[in-house]
């Protein structure tokens, strides 16, 4: 722990699966194969030579890409040594649908109960996910080829198809704008010090195992004596050079299939707006925190966020809520404000030592008001999801026919710490009905079941400058979980190791 790593020691990108670095947006076709091990030896044989795409930038970019992730049940099915399996994080080892307590935390209750999932619970927990990406028109052949390769070792329990929604999620809003900038160059200093300003750059160790995280520490992961890796397949651990590091260059991958009730969403907004089309759009934007094209409601404050704007699109990501503490511009409970509150380790105030001490001790009443949610940098997610189904256009044109064709999001996020990143954001910030002093859950994702004491959580408050909050009440559930699992997306050398080790 106390070992100071050499700064900027470069990352072996050829050992990192490409998804960590790229969204593969140019590969507009994708499908996710969820497999269970049928024949462990054959399964391992395929994993040992699976054509995994690395994070190395190529010119031209690849025509197809393949990524492989494994669940903890998968590790066991592949006959990986139990003591190694047990060294992964507790959430990964237990699995997403492991118990009622986790379901309660994640909001997987009622219609989203794992007992009702299409996959991800009981016998339908996948062992391996194979994520396939291809240029338009090339997926079918690519998938056929991979399926043939896999056939000896695996049975397919689910094929998650995706559709190219051109950066718009099914409700019709621009998606994937807010992403942390990963510090691939390792220029961020490794130290544990309060950050006084929101910063969009995250330490590499927040997303890749084997590197220092925002606390300046290495997230625990399976390490082993080199004797257990006789072919020296694995990299050595940076913080324990005498150990082989199974986690290095890998990360956890959270996959959740979310059905979005697009018709229900717009019909409800229409009802709330009493048919006023303009108001309907404004209410929807208030719930999301952005307009449909992605313009944030909290207008750019002028000052630039570090790591905020490296591309024209990420201009839309270059803002904080500091100038809007009460949520008059962007409601406190808006979806993007909940998922990324964009604040620092200390509430805003002077930079002087005394001023900081004063806030640290809680004596600054104005600062305390804004301190219910803090330290965003420990709760960032790298999102890599893809839409499925018809998306917004078709779903809306079919408004009255209620064809009910499923559409939604295959939510994918990457993180080094499932609990502190995905589970925290999902439970404390989205499903939790008490975010920032409100009594309502996320306007898009909430399950709408009342809190104990019977206070409803199905409202949405829109603070007004000059009077009581505007309130939407009785919102129905718009998003249902259809399946989900926690995977490990290993480094490529670690994947080869897992394919040989027993």
């Amino acid at each position: 722990m106390n070992a100071i790593p050499s700064q900027g020691r470069s990352v072996k990108l050829d050992d990192v699966q490409g998804l960590v670095r790229f969204g593969y947006k140019h590969l507009t076709e994708a499908s996710f194969l969820l497999l269970r091990v049928k024949d462990p030896a054959a399964a391992r044989a395929w994993l040992a030579r699976a054509p995994v795409t690395s994070a190395v930038k190529t010119d031209p970019p690849p025509e197809t890409a393949l990524q492989v992730a494994v669940t903890s049940e998968g590790l066991r099915a592949l006959e990986v040594a139990p003591d190694l399996c047990a060294e992964f994080s507790a959430e990964f080892v237990a699995g997403m649908a492991s118990d009622a307590a986790r379901a309660r935390r994640l909001g997987d209750v009622g219609a989203s109960d794992p007992g009702k999932w299409l996959w991800g619970a009981g016998e339908r927990v996948p062992h391996v996910a194979v994520l396939l990406y291809a240029r338009a028109g090339q997926l079918a052949a690519w998938e056929q080829e991979i399926e043939t390769q896999c056939a000896a070792g695996f049975v397919r329990i689910e094929r998650l198809s995706t559709s190219d929604m051109r950066g718009v999620e099914p409700f019709g809003f621009a998606d994937g704008i807010s992403q942390p900038e990963v510090d691939w160059e390792r220029t961020r200093p490794v130290r544990d010090r309060d950050q006084l300003e929101y910063n969009n750059v995250s330490c590499l160790g927040e997303f890749l195992l084997g590197y220092p995280n925002e606390y300046g520490l290495y997230t625990p992961r399976p390490l082993m004596v080199p004797q257990r890796d006789p072919d020296a397949l694995l990299p050595s651990a940076e913080d324990a050079p005498d150990q082989a590091d199974l986690g290095r260059n890998g990360c956890y991958l959270v996959l959740r299939q979310l059905r979005q009730d697009v018709q229900g969403f717009w019909r409800e907004l229409d009802r709330q707006a009493e048919g006023d089309a303009d108001l309907r759009e404004r209410l929807a934007a208030a719930m999301v925190g952005r307009t449909k094209p992605g313009e944030p409601l909290a207008a750019p404050s002028g000052e630039s966020v570090a790591g905020g704007a490296s591309t024209p699109r990420s201009k839309l990501n270059d803002f904080t809520y500091q100038a809007d503490p009460r949520g008059v511009r962007c409601p406190l409970g808006a979806h993007i404000r909940r998922t990324n509150p964009r604040n620092a380790d200390l509430p805003p105030g002077g930079r002087g030592l005394l001023s900081r001490l004063w806030r640290m001790l809680g004596f600054d009443a104005a600062a305390l008001e804004q301190d219910l949610v803090a330290s965003t940098r420990f709760h960032r997610l790298l999102r890599r999801g893809r839409g499925f189904g018809a998306g917004v256009a078709t779903a809306l044109s079919a408004t009255e026919s209620s064809s009910g064709a499923d559409t939604g999001l295959h939510f994918i996020c990457l993180a080094a710490n499932i609990k502190r990143q995905f589970e925290f954001v999902q439970s404390a910030w989205l499903i939790g009905s008490k975010f920032a002093g409100l009594t309502e859950s996320d306007p898009l994702l909430g399950h709408r079941l009342p809190d104990p004491g019977d206070s409803p959580t199905d409202g949405f408050s829109i603070p007004q400058a000059d009077g009581p909050d505007r309130r939407l009440t009785g919102l129905p559930q718009f998003v249902t979980v259809l399946g989900g699992a926690y995977f490990f997306l290993p480094g490529i050398r670690a994947l080869r190791y897992l394919a040989t080790a027993r």
Partner: protein, 432 residues
């Protein structure tokens, strides 16, 4: 204003009776670990001065950790702790409980050593009360009755207030007056209650004042001695910080699941933890002094809704057990466990280190406040491993967090204020 207090009654569980005790406690719940307010054994809901209460079997799985300091594993008893946070003096609350729930309490304490089935219950319970080393109350003076009345007030006002844009600031004044009239009518009709606070007990005020002065005085008297000893104390501290063993294996999965099974049934949760103090008089004294200081700040400074930056703890306390060989910590907090711990690490790790680094196995600190709890993973493992399941937990106001209580309180204050400015009237309306 009615001051709050907390109590902890501790009794040894009789050998061989633990299972039967656990079964009895189980019957008091409506959900895992959540007391049924009307349960037949101890109907908590009938005690209108009780904020929180819990019954927990203190069976410490970490007593052997002290072997890391070369001290043989002691044989320490399993206790039953009965803990409450209430309005008014703890003794009165205990008496009230013992009188009105006598049969139930007898059924519980029957499982404990030395309980006399025919004897005086009140005297027995009071004799088993333990002193608290440090005691934190989120908002001194906020009674259960106030919480409930103000919650009802807010609900009524939130349903009544017209949710329209206001044409002018003057309109906010009008609206406020109309709502005041509405509340007055509701109060007259007996549908809302807004009981004025009771007078603050003089004895409590005097005791507080004496405490306020006495502790700094004692400090002043000891200061010369402290200055003389400082080099030695600092040297000892740093030497121990460098060499004390850290013990942080991940908590056992089944144990963790049992704890989680009891959590997130309300917007608040309970936390009960136990651990051994590092051996030797240095740590023993340091822990004692620091807890006196924590208690002092909690009694005189942090009485208005925040403990440094943490605004989510309703009640908490530290108490020594077994001749200061062990320390118990309990709290009632808002939100989930993970958020609670992240709040701790990110907002008050220094405070955690001051309070807990004298415990065997705590992640290594520097200068008493740095590192320690900031070593995220070690701290998280440590605290979960020292946490004990709370078999029965009661909260008088389910569904309400401290943010709710504070807002409701401000709603009432704004309602009762004789006159307000236009801006204040607008701000008040926004609370609804």
């Amino acid at each position: 204003m009615t001051p709050q207090s907390q109590f902890m009654v501790v009794a040894r569980v009789t050998l061989g009776r633990e299972r039967s005790l656990r079964e009895l406690l189980e019957t008091m719940n409506s959900k895992p670990g959540m007391a049924d307010p009307a349960n037949a054994v101890l109907p908590f809901g009938q005690f209108e001065r009780l904020h929180f209460a819990r019954l927990a079997v203190l069976d410490d799985p970490t007593v052997g950790d002290i072997e890391a300091h070369g001290v043989p594993r002691p044989s320490l008893p399993v206790y039953l702790a009965f803990i409450g946070s209430c309005d008014g003096p703890a003794n009165e609350c205990i008496k009230d409980l013992a009188q009105r729930a006598e049969t139930g309490l007898r059924r519980i304490f029957m499982h404990c050593d030395g309980f006399d089935a025919q004897g005086d219950l009140v005297a027995w319970v009071q004799a088993h009360q333990r002193p608290l080393a440090a005691n934190y109350i989120n908002w001194v003076g906020r009674s259960v009755r106030q919480v409930k009345e103000e919650s009802a007030l807010r609900r009524a006002l939130a349903a009544k207030v017209p949710r329209v844009s206001l044409a002018s600031a003057a309109q906010a004044q009008q609206l406020r007056r109309a709502l005041i009239d509405f509340v007055d009518a509701e109060v007259s009709a007996g549908r809302l209650g807004l009981t004025p606070p009771d007078p603050t007990p003089l004895r409590w005020q005097i005791a507080k004042l004496l405490h306020l002065v006495a502790i700094p005085l004692v400090g002043l008297i000891l200061l010369p001695l402290l200055i003389i000893l400082a080099p030695f104390l600092i040297f000892t501290l740093r030497a121990k910080e460098r060499s004390d063993a850290e013990i942080f294996p991940p908590p056992d999965r089944a144990v963790l699941l049992e704890l989680q099974h009891l959590e997130d049934h309300d917007v608040s949760n309970q936390y009960t933890a136990i651990g051994s103090l590092k051996p030797g008089s240095f740590r023993r004294w340091l822990a004692t002094v620091l807890l006196v200081l924590i208690d002092y700040t909690a009694r005189h400074i942090f009485t208005r809704g925040f403990l440094a930056r943490v605004q989510t703890i309703h009640f908490a306390f530290w108490a020594f057990l077994d001749d200061k060989r062990r320390l118990v910590f309990t709290s009632n907090y808002d939100g989930g466990h993970e958020a609670y711990m992240d709040d701790f690490i990110n907002k008050v790790a220094w405070g955690l280190n001051l309070a807990f680094s004298h415990g065997v196995g705590w992640p290594r600190t520097r200068w008493l406040v740095a590192r320690g709890a900031r070593i995220e993973n070690r701290f998280k493992h440590f605290q979960r491993r020292h946490q004990l399941p709370t078999q029965v937990w009661y909260k008088a106001y389910p569904g309400l967090t401290l943010a709710d209580l504070k807002r409701n309180q401000r709603i009432r204050e704004g309602l009762e204020r004789a006159s307000v400015t236009d801006a204040q009237a607008q701000a008040w309306l926004r609370l609804l």
